[in-house]
Amino acid sequence: MPTEPSTESVYSDLRVLDLAGEMGIYCGKILADLGAEVIKVEPPGGDSCRRIGPFVGDEPHPEKSLYWFQFNTSKKSITLDITTADGKDLFRKLAATADVIIETFAPGYLDGLGLGYEALGRENPGLIMTSITPFGQTGPYRDYKASDLVGIAMGGQLYLAGTPGEPPVQAGGSQGYNQASLHAVVGTLIALHCRDIGGEGQQIDVSMQDAVTPSMETAAPFWVMNKHIRKRTGHEHRAAGYGLYPCRDGFVSLMSGARAWEPLIAWMNEEGYGLDLAGEEWLSRAFRGEHVDEGDAHIIPWCLDHTMRELIEGLQARHTIAMPINTPKDLVESPQLNARNFFVEVDHPELGAKYRYPGSPYRFSHIEWRIAHRAPLIGEHNLEIFGQLGLSRQEIIALKGAGVI
């Protein structure tokens, strides 16, 4: 799409305090890359997410975590121990200047410090506080702990993935945490919209479990409407021509749904394969679901006679769905992503290197998205942010000596 020469940030007036751990770390990145001032509030010594690998050159170091790099682009960092009296005082002052606070502490933890929504919102009625927890702020499990795996288990997503008879298998990429963050950012921006049109701030209660449930796909209506429990199907093909198929040099994902069957069979027939599949009965998706092996007995040998590229380009040209099983390397080398200049180089002057990052999830004609700078060093913006609160350099140094900053 044509991008206009001048784009501008739409959130440059927004200040966000980011106290989120893994469950909410992506939420702040989305806002930061769109131009909001997102300030990571780290405990002195650095956030525990800095200990998550992998690391540059596999050298564990709080300033070399690729996990930290990936999810904290464009953010600033201050260090502050919010459990100390001085730390609380500074945090209250900072919260009075903020539009949004994102946090992932256990329910009630910030209230216990006198830093919950009720206390901070009283002094700053426009404040939006986004609280992301495993199971939400209410209910009998509100104090339960959860990792990513537990989140997708309880949200009903995990049961649908994996091989029948084997344990259900976790989706790669921490999808429970991602979903919690993604729904949190939508809620945050809806709350901001409310404020923009004259409303007050508010509290947003995000439960990872709730956020995962949409990924149950049709499992809920199948149970309610048909009393049928959807199960995991692994590598079983959903229908003839639907699933993971071996080819000469790897695998392709075929998805010959309603209209995609005829062009597949037409091509196979041209090459002398699958003449038995040309009958009328095979046009029914339900029939193909009931005759998987019979259909695949023709489709598999044909696939094995072709390369991945032949199948994908040939089938897509015939308006049939075939996709590669891409690795991260394939993505970085993808002709489509590179033609679109998807990847972005980010300078890491301390490491003397520039690294390629995934670019924007969306493209606008008028709004700017950019990675303003690499993830912050520990407390990199202490002088700037605390200075704005009226602290002198000496006071900041004294607070550092006291372990507050």
């Binding site: 799409m1 769109l34 992998p54 540059v56 339960y144 702990k145 959860a146 990792s147 288990a153 309880m154 949200g155 995990l158 049961y159 994996g162 091989t163 084997e166 259900p168 298998v169 989706a171 790669g172 979903q179 809620g187 921006l189 919209h193 409310c194 923009d196 409303g199 995000v206 709730d210 449930t213 949409p214 809920a220 209506p221 409407m225 048909n226 429990i229 959807r230 199907t233 692994g234 959903r238 998805m255 339900a286 590669p324 690795t327 991260p328 394939d330 993505l331 970085v332 489509q336 992503l337 033609a339 679109r340 390629r356 990052y357 995934p358 924007s360 969306y362 606008f364 004609s365 008028h366």
Partner: protein, 418 residues
């Protein structure tokens, strides 16, 4: 602001279909926007033809296109389209497209998730629509983008998981790539990213009066949620692979068989203190102090033994008993819930009134995903079930577009409104 309806006054001309698009407009419909779906008998929202269907046959385990006559019985469709209106108009006809344009002229947002050639063929691209409504906000969500050598590739979420690398990262290390079993990127990733973009564009319009064009390549959107897989390759040259249910810094970390048929509990131990708590909860006091298992490194070195010890214990208990026992001592554990668990047994989702049931005029009682975030001052609304195909054609044409009743009848007969 109308209480609870922050998007009151915002109208969306919704050309989108299947899941990723309609879930975007569902967010807006939940908070008071007027969302009008444009569908036709020739090209209804494809999910209307995907099960489960009211009165359907138990045991059909997967959505399958069927020859079912009614387009109003799908529970898959109902879930993503409550609070919306349906205008039945054939966009393959020039007069159908004229009606669509009249709707765009009084709308704030236009959205579609077709391959790029569809809106081009209909001359309903952003460039076309901005001529008739200069401050329109339009979001296109083609699978691979509007431009580029593979822009015309077709796909659904299931194939997109393969394309974007999620399948490669999912499964057992010694097995083939395994999918999530669903059209995974359709349900959170692509709808949430696009909704963020639309909310940004609304804010921009509020400030400048200008509309704009948004393009979401579903591949680029999904490539965001691979954790560190891309940057680990660009920085370290490492191609991350599948790791089953293991975790690089937690052990035990897995899914364990419990008492009952196909019942499982996820158990994840991140610290040595949690390991001690787990051992005591399992009644294995000696194991708690066994130095062979005292550190993460030592447990990782005998992960198979650790998993066997945990599973010896879990197989004698229900997954709920495992979860409750472990949560009481501060170990993160959770039932691998089936739909029956999540809908009928889970006291947490019940206490949060998560699932929403609405009565549909044709299909009866239907279930819908509840809130994925709860706003304290402006809660979401669930006021009407998904529309039947064309249910609001008369209302939209007469009340919004000013087409009189006779003309509407004529357009119906000519199969323009069909």
């Amino acid at each position: 602001m109308i209480p609870g309806r922050p998007f009151a006054g915002i109208r969306i001309a919704d050309f989108s279909w299947y899941a990723a698009g309609p879930i975007i407009t569902r967010f807006f419909a939940q908070f008071g926007a007027e969302v009008i779906k444009l569908e036709s008998h020739a090209k209804p929202d494809g999910l209307r033809q995907n099960g489960p269907f009211a009165g359907g046959t138990p045991g059909i385990s997967l959505p399958a296109s069927t020859t079912i006559n009614s387009l109003d019985l799908s529970g898959y469709f109902a879930n993503y389209n409550y609070n919306k209106l349906s205008l039945q108009v054939d966009l393959n006809l020039p007069r159908g497209r004229e009606i669509a344009k009249r709707l765009v002229r009084i709308s704030d947002i236009v959205i579609d998730n077709f391959t790029p050639r569809v809106m081009e063929k209909w001359k309903l691209t952003y460039e076309d629509l901005a001529q008739i409504k200069p401050d329109i906000i339009m979001a296109d969500l083609p699978m691979l983008g509007l431009v580029g050598p593979q822009r015309d590739y077709m796909g659904f979420g299931y194939a997109l998981s393969s394309l974007a690398g999620i399948d490669h990262l999912t499964g057992m290390p010694d097995d083939l790539p395994t999918s999530t079993g669903t059209n995974f990127p359709d349900y959170s990733c692509n709808p949430c990213h696009t909704t963020v973009a639309l909310l940004a564009a609304l804010r921009y319009r509020q400030r400048t009066g200008k509309g704009q064009h948004i393009e979401v390549s579903q591949l680029e959107s999904t490539a965001q949620i691979l954790g560190t897989a891309i940057i680990d390759y660009t920085v370290n040259g490492r191609v991350q692979g599948r790791r089953g249910n293991t975790h690089p810094s937690a052990c035990p970390h897995g899914v364990y068989r419990c008492k009952g048929n196909d019942r499982w509990c996820a158990v994840t131990v991140f610290t040595d203190a949690e390991w001690v708590s787990l051992c005591r909860a399992m009644g294995r006091e000696l194991l708690a102090t066994d130095s062979d298992f005292g550190s993460f490194q030592s447990r990782r070195a005998r992960e198979a033994d650790v998993n066997r010890l945990v599973e010896e214990w879990t197989t004698s208990l229900s997954p709920e008993e495992v979860m409750e026992t472990l949560q009481r001592v501060g170990v993160a554990a959770g039932v691998v819930q089936t739909a029956e668990d999540a809908l009928d047994r889970d006291p947490q989702l019940a206490a949060r009134k998560h699932w929403v049931y609405l009565d549909h005029p044709e299909a009866g009682r239907m279930v819908h995903d509840g809130d994925t975030f709860k706003l304290s001052r402006t809660p979401s609304q669930f006021h009407s079930p998904a529309p039947c195909l064309g249910q609001h054609t008369n209302w939209v044409c007469q009340e919004l577009l000013g087409i009189n009743a006779d003309e509407v009848s004529a357009l119906r007969e000519e199969k323009v409104l069909y």
